[in-house]
Symmetry: C2
Subunit: 464 residues, 2 copies
């Protein structure tokens, strides 16, 4: 894979490296110095040393091998540097510089030349006009927002590619605060060379990536893109948030990145056919990514619910049913077992209401019974942790054991404030069961698990 | 208003008062001792003193006047106590005790007797089988969940009534964590006497309440309810989340509270006709309540957007348009003024993209220009605070001044993590502009402001 040179780079040249406060060259240097595990070569004609490292006048002057050049200099100087990279044998470049196609005709001409050089020398280029790459596992990090404003997620399995840099950065920050782990983040900007299709092809084969999430405004090579999504989807879920769904939104896309958003209906149909998990908004993108990163896909849309609050059970029912999912009757055997372990006023129907005074042990028992029901393929556990009867720490320990098998996906809902959020995060971190604040978020998560279950079974059938 | 006795009570008897750990009687006593501003009379045949206060053998033994009795004793003892309340002249009671209609026929018979006694003696009863009341302004608080698990909102203008106690408590906790202010929360349980209709009638006249939010499973007196909603809506927004929308959900309602959920389509139509703001889920309930508590209703569905991120502008456009709202062209005059103050590559079309390097001053200037455009009646400000160019503290100061007039509603969007959330809370607290994490949440908020604007103008027209 050509893109491996970028994402697995062991040596990086920073063209435009600087100690100047507020400069991108400084921010990139600081990021790399604090997290990158390989060699770093500052390049800047103006300096002899940058942050104590020897600074080179040009990429060509660097003695050792260079896998990747990060280019953060004015647009008009980029072509020359990229050519030098080619001559030096640098096979990957991230061009952060703006001032290309997004600025008009002149910029577009410059970008055309950039693409030509990239092709001629076989340099894979991400950008221009982008934030670049954050790879949590290797510490490659060109996202130049200040670290006090822009958190980066811990290493994990979610990859996220974004046509919009600023929005991508905001979501990266959001994902970090949600304590989710990430493999790679890519803001690919104008996509002069590497585009969404090539990125999905790479991530599909990347062993660290379990889930591919995408924010896309327009697609360059439609047919190739669908092919890449189809191939990737047979291995791992590809979640897509497509912006420009409405005519007005599509017009805004055109003025933003110059992409053609196209008809959303056509896109949506083709993407679903190709196995993509379509989400409607930012919240859904995060909810679905979390579920698919943490839980196995569902074997059917038949969902069991266990709750200590009747009202929350009703809302959950509405949310699941309105998404086309099923809440079947439980088997007679399950109901009989539930009758034995639950108080007489509990509801042994699905949703199973184990009542407001349910301790963690009643949850454990009811969950075990419902999980083994052959009529159920997904379990939703609702906890209102305001109830003094429920010890969330004991519940966490039981769930740790129960969730070990990962035979059927489990999703949790815990609406509330500070106490609830603290324990929700702990449960999620220690059991791998995704916890959501509201029934609607959890329903999005369940829907994604069910949708991807269907995609997987179709992919398997195709192989047979 | 008969309910004033409860919500403005100056003296409260706690029947079942106790120091016993884990008892409801203790929790209610602790709540009242820590927050209630009036007199507290513990009542319990077993004790002489509770938390240092003289404890009475019966309500009738209390020397002074008693406005309200909070009853937390076994169901079978409730009737006698309620009768004594009637004889003593206590005009309000909150019956927390469970064991009535929700437990079957015998309980239903007991509840019937409770209702009869309430009517006979003219005692207004909230409950049974409820969490009761939290009135932030007077400190009346019978919500007996432990305070480390269950936060209570600060005094404010949102009233929230909930048929489900546990879900209501969870939402109370959520609202407190969101730093929103509340006038009254009521969990009214089985509604043996006081029901949703009477509560809305009361809240409609309550000067502290600016917004009425409701979680409702089934309605007892349909016609009266619609009448109450219509009357209240002409004064203040009534936001309704109706559970049991799907057939399956309606069945879950029946097994939860025994209410008939009815056909949602019929409900929805009738409620909208009556001026209610319908929301679809818990998140929307919170988003809409916040917007309507903080901002004036919109005069039209014509929205202007100012953003420092093109992608976020596109998503916002999609969300607003798909909710039937409008993002019109700006007037020629506005565009001319924007051209003067914005860099050449900025977009002066709506959404106005002031670019990623926009400082707070560029926001201030663009916001002022767009706000004065007669073609715009709502403003959405999107900030990606990861950008180092934007100082959110300076922006806050500008917004404080700009939002003072409250001529047109303003809603903000700020996706991100810890830094963004901190500054979002500060902006919201100091400017009164509601800030949302995602375009979809902000769109719900805008829709609520537009919907209520229509309701208000219709109400005014009816008066004319």
């Amino acid at each position: 894979m050509a893109l491996k040179r970028i994402f697995e780079a062991r040596s990086v040249a920073v063209v435009g490296a600087s100690e100047k406060k507020g400069s991108i060259g400084r921010a990139v240097m600081e990021n790399l110095l604090s997290s990158f595990k390989g060699s770093i070569y500052p390049v800047n004609i103006k300096y002899d040393r940058v942050f104590g490292l020897k600074c080179y006048k040009s990429v060509k002057k660097i003695p050792g091998e260079v896998d990747l050049a990060v280019i953060a200099i004015p647009a008009k100087a980029v072509l020359k540097v990229l050519k030098e990279c080619g001559e030096k044998g640098v096979r990957g470049a991230i061009v952060i510089s703006a001032g290309f196609r997004e600025t008009g005709e002149e910029g577009a001409a410059l970008e055309k030349k950039l693409t030509d050089i990239a092709k001629k020398y076989g340099v894979k280029v991400i950008g221009p006009n982008c934030l670049g790459v954050y790879s949590a596992h290797t510490g490659l990090d060109t996202i130049f927002n200040p670290s006090d404003r822009q958190a980066k997620p811990k290493p994990g399995t979610i990859a996220f590619i974004s046509q919009s840099g600023a929005l991508g950065a905001a979501l990266l920050d959001w994902i970090a605060a949600a304590n989710l782990g990430m493999s790679h983040f890519v803001s690919y900007g104008n996509a002069a060379d590497v585009d969404e299709t090539e990125l999905i092809e790479f991530l599909s084969e990347d062993p660290r990536t379990k889930v591919i999430a995408c924010y896309i405004e327009g697609v360059r090579r439609g047919r190739d893109f669908l092919k890449a999504v189809r191939k990737a989807s047979s291995r791992k879920p590809v979640i897509i948030l497509k912006a420009g769904k409405t005519t007005k939104g599509a017009r805004a896309v055109a003025s933003h990145t110059g992409s053609m958003a196209g008809s959303y209906k056509v896109y949506e149909g083709a993407l679903k056919q190709s196995g993509a998990i379509i989400v409607e908004d930012l919240g859904e993108l995060v909810s679905a990514s979390k579920a698919l990163a943490l839980q196995p896909p569902a074997k059917s849309p038949r969902i069991g619910i266990v709750t200590n609050g009747g009202g929350a059970g009703v809302l959950m029912t509405d949310e699941l049913i309105s998404r086309g999912l099923e809440i079947p009757r439980l088997s007679q055997d399950t109901i009989k077992q539930l009758e034995k372990i639950l108080p007489p006023t509990a509801s042994t129907e699905n949703p199973v209401d184990i009542l407001g005074d349910a301790p963690a042990e009643r949850y454990r028992d009811a969950i075990k019974v419902v999980l083994q029901d052959p009529l159920i393929d997904v379990l939703v556990v609702i906890t209102l942790m305001q109830s003094p009867a429920l010890d969330p720490v004991r519940l966490k320990d039981y769930l740790k054991e129960i969730s070990r098998s990962k035979a059927k996906p489990i999703v949790m809902v815990a609406p509330g404030g500070v106490y609830t959020e603290k324990h929700s995060k702990e449960i999620e971190a220690e059991t791998g069961i995704p916890v959501y604040k509201s029934p609607e978020e959890a329903a999005t998560a369940v829907k994604a698990l069910v949708d991807y279950g269907i995609v997987r079974s179709q992919a398997l059938n195709t192989l047979v």
